[in-house]
Amino acid sequence: MASSVYLCLLRAVFLVCFVNPLIQGLSEDESVFQNPHHQQEENLTGLPIVTFKWHHVETPYLVIIWVFVAGLAKLSVVELNHHVISVVPESGLLIILGFILGGIVWGADRAQTFKLLPPTFFYYLLPQIILDASYFMPNKLFFSNLGAILIYAIFGTCWNAATVGLSLWGCYEAGVMGNLDIGLLQFLLFGSLIAAVDPVAVIAVFEEVHVNEVLFILVFGESLLNDGVTVVLYNVFDAFVALGGPRIDAAEIFKGIFSFVVVAFGGSFLGIGFAILLSLLTRCTKHIQIIEAGFVFVVGYLAYLTAEMLSLSAILSITFCGICCQKYVNANMDEKSVTTVRHAMKLLANGSETMIFLFLGVTAIDTEIWVWNTGFILLTLLFVFIYRIIGTFLFTWMLNKFRLVPIEVIDQVVMSYGGLRGAVAYGLAALLDEDKIPEKNLMISTTLIVVYFTVILQGITMKPLVQWLKVKRAAHSDLKLIEKLNNRAFDHILAAVEDICGRIGDNWWTRGWNRFEENYISWLLMKPKARKNRDYLFSIFHKLNLEDAINYVSEGERQGSLAFSRSDEAANVDFKKQFGSEFADVMPNIMVDMSNYELGIEHFSVTSIVKDTIPSVSLDIHGQDRKNAMDDINAHHLLQQHLYRSRKHHRHKYSRSHFSINQNEDEVQEIFQRTMRSRLESFKSTKMGVNPAKKITKHHKKELTHKMPNGHPDGTGHLYGDEVDIAVGSETGAINSTFMRDTYTVGAGIENPVFLPDMDSPTHSPPWLMETEAVAPSQRAQRRLPWTPNRLRRLAPMRISTCSTDSFLMADVSLTLEEHEEHSQTDHVEMRPVFD
C-alpha cells in the first residue's frame, strides 16, 4: 500500500537523519564490535540457534523506538491530570517532556546524540503536517478570506523579517550586544527565519481555544502560507549573504525580488499541477480501491519533493496540492478510501507533530548549541513580539477599508498574540552555514528560546486571554438543512442584486468561477457519477439522514431492541421510507411469515419474498447484553464458520484487496432460504407439541459456544449444521429460536434429521442428552404450545412497541426473570452473524 510505503520512507528518514550522527559516533566501536563477531563466526563449531544481531537492526530499531517513545509521550501527556492539560497546551507539555528525555539521553551519553536535524524535519516530518492542514482546509472560508490571508502572509512576513532584522542591527550598532560577528545581511537573514508564524504551533494552540472561524482561518491560513514565504525569503537572504555585502547592487536586489515571486508562485502552481494529476488519477482507480488512498499521500509528497528539486517553494506546493485536490479526490474515491485518507492523514500529521515538539525539547539539552547573549536574545524576543502586534494592526487597518465585515480589535489582539514561532524557524536556523555565519549557534539558541517562549508561555496564556477578551467563539452549531438552504438562497439573491445594480462585485466573480468550475474543471477531474449526484444541499441532506439513521439505531439499541430493515439496493432511501412509514414495515419478516403460514403455503419460494417490495433481510439487533462479549465472539465464530463453509465455491477469509468477504447476494438468499425452511420445520414441530425442559437451553448453549468454534462438524453433519445455525442466526422472532432449537436437541419431537446431526456429532453423544430425556416439558414449553399464527400476529406489534423478544415474554407472564435473561442472551448471540 502506498501509504505504507510512505511510512517506510518516514522510517528511513529517521534512520538517516537521527541516527547518522550516532552511527558515525559509534563507527569506531562498531569495528571493535564487529571483530569479535567475525571471530565468533570463524570459531563456530556448531550451528548457533540464536544470535544477537544488534547492528543489523540498529538504525531502524532506534528510529522505531523513538517513534514509540513519542507515542508514549503523547499518551502520557494526554492522560495527564486534566487540570494540567486545561492550562498548558499539549505542545508545551511535549516540549517539556522533551527536556526530560533529552536530559536522560544527555546523562547517559554526555552528549546529545539525538537531535532534530533539518533534513529530517523538512523531508519527513513537515510534509504530512502541511498536507494534512491543507487537505482539510475549509476551502470556502479560505478562499473568501484569501485576500486578507495573502496580505498577512506575504507582506506581514516581509514586514516582520525586515523590522526585526533592521531593529536588531540598529541595536547592535548601538552597542547593546557587545562584540558579535554579525553584519546587516546576517541580521536580515535571521529576521527572515524568525518571521514566520508556525502552522504546527498555531494549530496546536488554536485548536484548543475555539475561536470564531474567520479568526481561525486568518491565523491558520497565514501561518500555512507564510511558512512558504519565509523559506523563500530565507533563501534569498541566504544567497545575499553568500554573495557578500559589497557585491550586491540594484540588479541583484531586483533579481532577489523576482526570484521571490517566481519561487512562491512557481511552487503554488506546481502544487496545483499535482492536484490536477491526483484528481485525474483518482478518477480511474475504481478497480484498485484498496490502494487509491495511498495516491493522495504519494502524490502530495511528490509535489513537495519536486518543488524542492526545482528550488521552488515546497511548502506552498504541497499546500496548494492539498487545497485544490480535496474536493475532487473526495468525490472520486470510494467512501471507504476517503475515510482511510482522513484517518491516515491525521495519524501521520499527529505523529509528526508529536515528534517535532518532543525533539524541540530533546534538542535543547545540548551544551554545544547554547551561546548566551543577553542583549541579542532579549531584544529578539521583544522585537518579535512587538512587531507582530504592530504589523497585524497595520495590515488589518488597511484591510478593514475594503472588508465587508471588518476585523474587530479584539480579534486583532488575538491574532497578534497568536504569533507562535515553531519548528520551521528552528529548522531554518539549524540549516545555517557556519562558515558564512559565525554566530550560528547564537541564532539557534535564540530561535529555540523564542520558540519555547511563544509555544509555552503564549500558549498557556492564550486561553485565558481569549476568555478574558471575550473573543467571539466558534458557535457550536449542528448541521442544519435550513441554514444551508438559505445560504444558497442568499448567494442567488446577492448575485441577482449585483446584476440589478449593474456592478461586477464579489458575487459575480464567485458565480463566474463556480460556473466555470462546474462546466469545465469538474467535468475534467470528476467521475461522471460523482458529478451527477453531488448537489451540495442534497449531500447535506444525505449526511443528516445518515446521522439520523445512526442515532435511530443506537437509540433503539439503548432502549433494548430494534428492528431494522434493509434492502440490498438504495439502502438510504429505503430506510427513509421505512422510517417514515408505518411501523408494520419494520417487521416485514413476521408479516411475511405469517401470511404464508396462514395461507397454508408450506413450500413457498424464497424468491417471491426476496423480490417482494418489503426489504429482504431483517435484522434484530440487541444492544442490551453487551456484557456477554465473549459469548458473542464465540458464537460469532461458530456461526460464521457454519454459515458459509458449506458453499461450494469456497472463498478465502483473507484478502489483500477486499474487506468485505462473504457478502454477496447468494449468501443473503441462502440465509433467507434456510431461515425459512428451518422455521417451517420448527413450526411443524411446535405443533406436534413436544418440548424439552427449559434448562437444556443452558447446556445447549454452552456446548455450542465451546465446542463449535473448533469442533467443526465433519463432512456428514455439515450441511445440516448450517441449517441450524442459520436458523438461529436470522431468526427474527416469529418463533422463538431457543425454544425451537430445544425441540430438536432433545429429539423428542418428530424425527428431524435437520437438527440432530449438528447438535451431537455422530461420534459422541453428549451426556446432557441422556439426562434430558427424562425431563418433562417445562411450564414455559407447555405454555407456548398453543401458539398459532393468529396469536403471532397479535403479538407482533407488541414487539415493535418495546423490544423484540421481550414482548413475547410479556405475553408470557409466568416466565421468570432468569428465563428472561437467558432468553435474551441466547437471542443476542444468535443475532450476531447477520449483523456482521
Binding site: 438543512l481 440589478i500 449593474g502 462585485g505
Partner: protein
C-alpha cells in the same frame, strides 16, 4: 462636483431618500444612472420586463422571485425611490455611523434583511412558508439532479427543523429563529453599497 449636484437635483426628495436608506450621494447617483440605463424607454419607472432584460438575472434560478420583490402587490411598475429602498436592504451595516435616537429601524437591519429573504419564499404573502412554497424554491435551486421525491424529503426535513409550533409551515418568527446563528449582515450585504 457640479455634475454631481445637478444629477442629485433632478431626483425629487433626494434628501429624504438618502436619510431613509443611508446611501451616500455617490451611491444615489450611481443607482440613478443604473436606473436610467434599465429604463430603456425613459418612462421614469421600471416594469418587470425591464429587469428581465438583464441577461444574468434571467439565468438566476430565483431571479423572477427577486424581480417580484421590487413590485408591491398589484403594481406593475417601480419608481426610483422604491428601487433604491429595496436595494438599501443590501447595504452593509455600519457600526460607526451615529445612531439617531427615535429614528425608525434602518432598512438594512438584520430583521429587514431577513424579511426580504422570507418574502421570496412566501409568494402568497400569508406570512408563512408552506411546504409547497418551499418546494418551489427548492426545485428552482436544486435543479435536475435531484428527484421529486428527494426534493420532498428535503422540504419536509427543512420545515421540520424550523417549525416550532408544528403547523407544518414556517412563520417569519420561526424563520428568524432558525437562522439565528447565521451572520446575516455578512450574507445579505454587498460591499460596493457601503
Amino acid at each position: 462636483m457640479g455634475s454631481t449636484n445637478s444629477t442629485l437635483l433632478k431626483i425629487p426628495n433626494v434628501e429624504v431618500l438618502m436619510q431613509e436608506t443611508g446611501f451616500s450621494p455617490a451611491h444615489i447617483i450611481r443607482l440613478h444612472d443604473r436606473f436610467k440605463a434599465l429604463d430603456k424607454e425613459g418612462r421614469g419607472h421600471l416594469c418587470p420586463h425591464d429587469f428581465g432584460a438583464i441577461k444574468e438575472l434571467a439565468m438566476n434560478p430565483i431571479g423572477d422571485r427577486i424581480i417580484g420583490a421590487f413590485f408591491s402587490p398589484g403594481k406593475e411598475t417601480v419608481d426610483f425611490h422604491t428601487f433604491v429602498k429595496i436595494l438599501a436592504h443590501f447595504r452593509p451595516v455600519d457600526k460607526d455611523r451615529p445612531k439617531e435616537p427615535n429614528s425608525p429601524e434602518p432598512i438594512n437591519s438584520r430583521s429587514n434583511k431577513l424579511k426580504f429573504a422570507f418574502q421570496l419564499y412566501d409568494q402568497d404573502k400569508d406570512g408563512k412558508i408552506s411546504r409547497d412554497e418551499l418546494l418551489q424554491v427548492l426545485r428552482a435551486m436544486l435543479g435536475m439532479q435531484v428527484t421529486d421525491e428527494q426534493l420532498e424529503s428535503i422540504a419536509d426535513r427543512t420545515i421540520q427543523e424550523a417549525d416550532l409550533d408544528r403547523d407544518d409551515t414556517i412563520s417569519f418568527e420561526e424563520f428568524r429563529k432558525s437562522l439565528e446563528k447565521i451572520n446575516i449582515d455578512h450574507k445579505m450585504s454587498i460591499r460596493f453599497l457601503r
